[in-house]
Symmetry: C5
Subunit: 280 residues, 5 copies
């Protein structure tokens, strides 16, 4: 049947990571563009549901539509890859430079996708700048403000807090990427992925790719946030926090649980040495 | 299992597009008639849910019933085809004139279906013109007004805004048509299709076929909208916007991601030349 | 996988129609009895949900339980058969008289089932006639009144309105019967069937079999409705309206789309002559 | 695929009935114990949801968790067996005394399970008898009162009413047991079973096994109900009503529809004689 | 199809128990760490939903996300193992000391995971200790207080009450672990597991692993609870109560129902002697 055993899931993680690492630049750009745009669609949808009901969790329950479409269609999401490509590197199926190339160009694609969707939403909800009374306009501005100035006012503490929230976030997002592999059935994939994505969005954790849409769009709509604020107080620490927890709590932990044990029986020495060498 | 890999999905898109392009006119008319009528059913259902709860998103959550029935039963929806038939043309499995013939006759079928369902709803909710107090009557009138006069009052800006909203809409609708192919299981298809359709309806984007029901029915119920208003400020820019984004962001983008790369290995020269020649 | 292509679905429709046409009378009675009783259960359940929440759509979302059980257990529902048996007749797999025999005896079974469930509900909600304060009692009376006197006060217009609402209803109910065949998986069947049934119930369209329970039960509970009112202003026009749209918009339309085209290749002449001969 | 045709379902009903009839006493006791306890869990869960929202139907929507777990784990529920074991007797795959032995010992197990879960809930919600202010305490007391004294005050009418409500209940519960066999997939079974169980609980019908938990627990919590009241005004008439409708409307009806017809072709005489002989 | 018969489920329980008993210590630590952290994520998510809606059951409906991820990814949850490893011991596929080793190291992993997630949540919701006004902060403090001091004020009665609530809890949690094995399909597993987990959380029963996150985090946030209180009035009696009911009502009961009967036919003597010897 369609359930995939966790040890086979780790194999799929390595495979997926290797495949992603080999994609040419133009592929990374287009896939990253679509990935961020779809998360943008999901974000404005979730905000809409929250604004209509005053219940943030309902937004979180609908939000995974974007993530699910990205995974089902084989697009790129750099936060998900944080748990996959490093494993391919550890298994020597990709190089560190291939990994970094993926991260870089996908992020470029994400920024373009986030901003282009943001521009379209700007036209749509402000009637091309004529009105700023749409509740969604106010919501996006407020979120962009909290996600930057909110941390800036706390100084170094703010950086630590945003970093921790980014770790909490991507622990879940990477589990979403992994749980998609726990089934070979479309419905099984969708349901399994839904769980961690609702979990992170419902608690307001920090997701680098969502922020690549929501903060520049907030700026576009008039939020009192500079591009420096965006990157310094949010985008950089969030991306690093996403990377650390995605690699550590999901990629490495599942690799350790299901892969190294399996390998030990065959060639214990080799794997351990390989692990020591990996340094990023 | 039932999950279909994205690269195979693109094959299915081309196949489906080619098949649609070859259908005889009477088939296009009947399939288009049913397609628009089913979207009409879904629209009045969604409005009813919204009116009873004051929560528009609940309408959006129920709305995909119509789209799902259309796809499961193999009917025609021109907006979905915007992402499929052009690919068949690019693959030389259909001609541009076959594509335009499909678009034209399906749209004729849609208009007939939208208006006939509209007439039946008119009889049903006004008691054959005796009362206009049903909240659904007021809702349809209001929507028809906003979707035409709402843009007309903004002049050229209005045309741009409606065009952008149409692009946002059909990016999602075409993903619905594609996600139906991401599974060979009925439940998988239904769940996957549901996601983008709720996403577009929940945010009030502009869908040509929904409007082929809702605007003429609004006029029938007494909205202060002329047939010229309908086509000039809504139907024409929306249809073009639907076509542009459906082809660009879904059809071409997925083709580029999953198909061209695959082809490159075999016959790089040929495909690129073909792409250059396609001009519509 | 479990998804069934629309053209194969049409084959199943013909098969199902042929099988139903051959059932002996006692089978039609028992299956019709259970069919109407299960719709009765679903109707009181839906009314209960609506009464508790004041949101009619929630009743409509729960209502399909009855229809789904009928289809999964292979019982009879005459409204569903309106789209199936005529196709078997057109394919010469059943005769017109077999079709009419099915309709007649199933309707007799439905009336018995509706009234027996109605009697049991009467005992249950009025404490055997001691109290009429249960909100469900008032709801059933009100519905029976609106569904008869509501149309009678409008005279000929009323007949047209109820006829149109019956057409709108059975367009959906027959799609429910068809969508059950679009999957070979139980979950797929259930989800697919659910869609059109919620769609019709949520908008208050007129379903002959639901009315065979709700109107006589309303009379039993004291609604100011005569048996003549029941049949003249509701049951007869609704049954005819259900038949017309079920045959026309679902049976014939899907047959035309998926079957005749297929046949044309093989034996174009024969099918068209057959179609001309069918006259009911 | 996983959908099971109704005629095969009837075969499964006979098989299941035969298997249940052969189980040794200690098996019946343990399976009956777990069956009643799981229904107890589901009942307090449903009451909790209702108390928090004032919407009884939400309790009914969550209640099937208990029934589903019982069926998936192969435990015993006497009310479900009312539709199964008699068929095994009719098919000569079990004797009447084996059937009665199953009913008796499973009921003993149910009473023990209901009371033990009741004791645990008593400790849990009253803090071992120190407080009776938990809304769940008041709810259980009120339900136990209505389900006994509520009928007693109506005398003979009360017995008829409770009997009819018990018939309405087990028509649905036995359909739940049957619908579990309509799929070979776990998800399909769960969804199909859910439908009739929500239907009966949402309308307040009388289920013998739920009452084996809720009435003694109500007494334990201080309801003004004697053990005589419990059995005279509820448990005995409810059990008989459950048996009558479960056997008649589900067991016999489906057997008649899908089995006897099939048999007729082979050995019409034999089956009919067998049916005449069965007398319980 | 994917449904697994209950007797085969018991085989899987023994297998799973045996496999868990053989895992090396570092595996138990990492798997236990992730298990507790995921339950922590689910707990704060459920609290958030409850705080936003004032409906505790909505929290309970979302809570199983954590449990489901643990099981799908093959992580460790000591409460689930309470029903599995003892069966492996009874079948001589594991030793008592291996079982205790699993319990001990998994609990250590759980405590670390609960506290580390708690620290991250502390940083996240108090802005690193700057504010304690977040409703989630107050909720966690209140829950930690009720779960310790709430019982302490009742003295010995409190210990009995918490013990009974722990029994009620793990009867359900272990059924969750078992129901995951009732399907070989991912969607089937998820749906089946969901049922008992919602059931226990919705009624406020006591789960050792949830408490390993919620009580120390409450202390961290300022709850007036000592580490002694935590262990004396909650963690120790809850863990024992979880063990007793998990082993008794789920492990042993299902083993008795589906396994011993099967064995009896082959080697009745042996199994019974084995059962007598087991003493823990």
């Amino acid at each position: 049947m369609d359930y995939v055993n966790p040890s086979d899931v780790v194999e799929s993680m390595v495979e997926a990571g290797a495949k992603k690492a080999k994609l040419p630049v133009h592929q990374l750009l287009v896939r990253g563009f679509l990935g961020a745009a779809l998360l943008g669609f999901a974000t404005t949808l979730a905000f809409t549901f929250e604004l209509q009901t005053k219940i943030g969790m309902l937004g979180a329950i609908i939000f995974p539509v974007g993530f699910v479409m990205i995974i089902l269609l084989g697009l790129e999401l750099v936060t998900g890859s944080f748990a996959l490509i490093p494993l391919a590197v550890m298994e020597k199926k990709a190089t560190v430079s291939e990994m970094l190339r993926n991260f870089f160009w996908v992020i470029i694609g994400h920024i373009i996708g986030g901003i282009i969707y943001g521009l379209m939403i700007y036209v749509s909800i402000t009637n091309f700048g004529q009105t700023f009374e749409n509740p969604l306009t106010q919501k996006i501005i407020a979120v962009a403000d909290v996600k930057t100035n909110g941390y800036a006012t706390m100084g170094a503490d703010g950086l630590l807090i945003v970093f921790i929230k980014a770790m909490l976030c991507n622990w879940m997002v990477t589990l979403g990427a992994v749980l998609a592999m726990v089934s070979k059935s479309t419905a099984g994939k969708i349901i399994a992925m839904w769980l961690p994505i609702t979990t992170f969005f419902g608690q307001g954790f920090e997701h680098a790719v969502v922020n690549m849409f929501v903060i520049p769009t907030g700026i576009l709509l008039g939020a009192d946030v500079t591009i420096i604020d965006w990157w310094l107080w949010n985008q950089i620490p969030v991306t690093i926090g996403n990377l650390v927890s995605g690699f550590l709590f999901t990629g490495l932990a599942l690799y350790f649980i299901h892969k190294i044990s399996a390998k030990k029986k065959e060639q214990p020495q080799e794997v351990h040495e390989r692990l020591k060498k990996v340094s990023f």
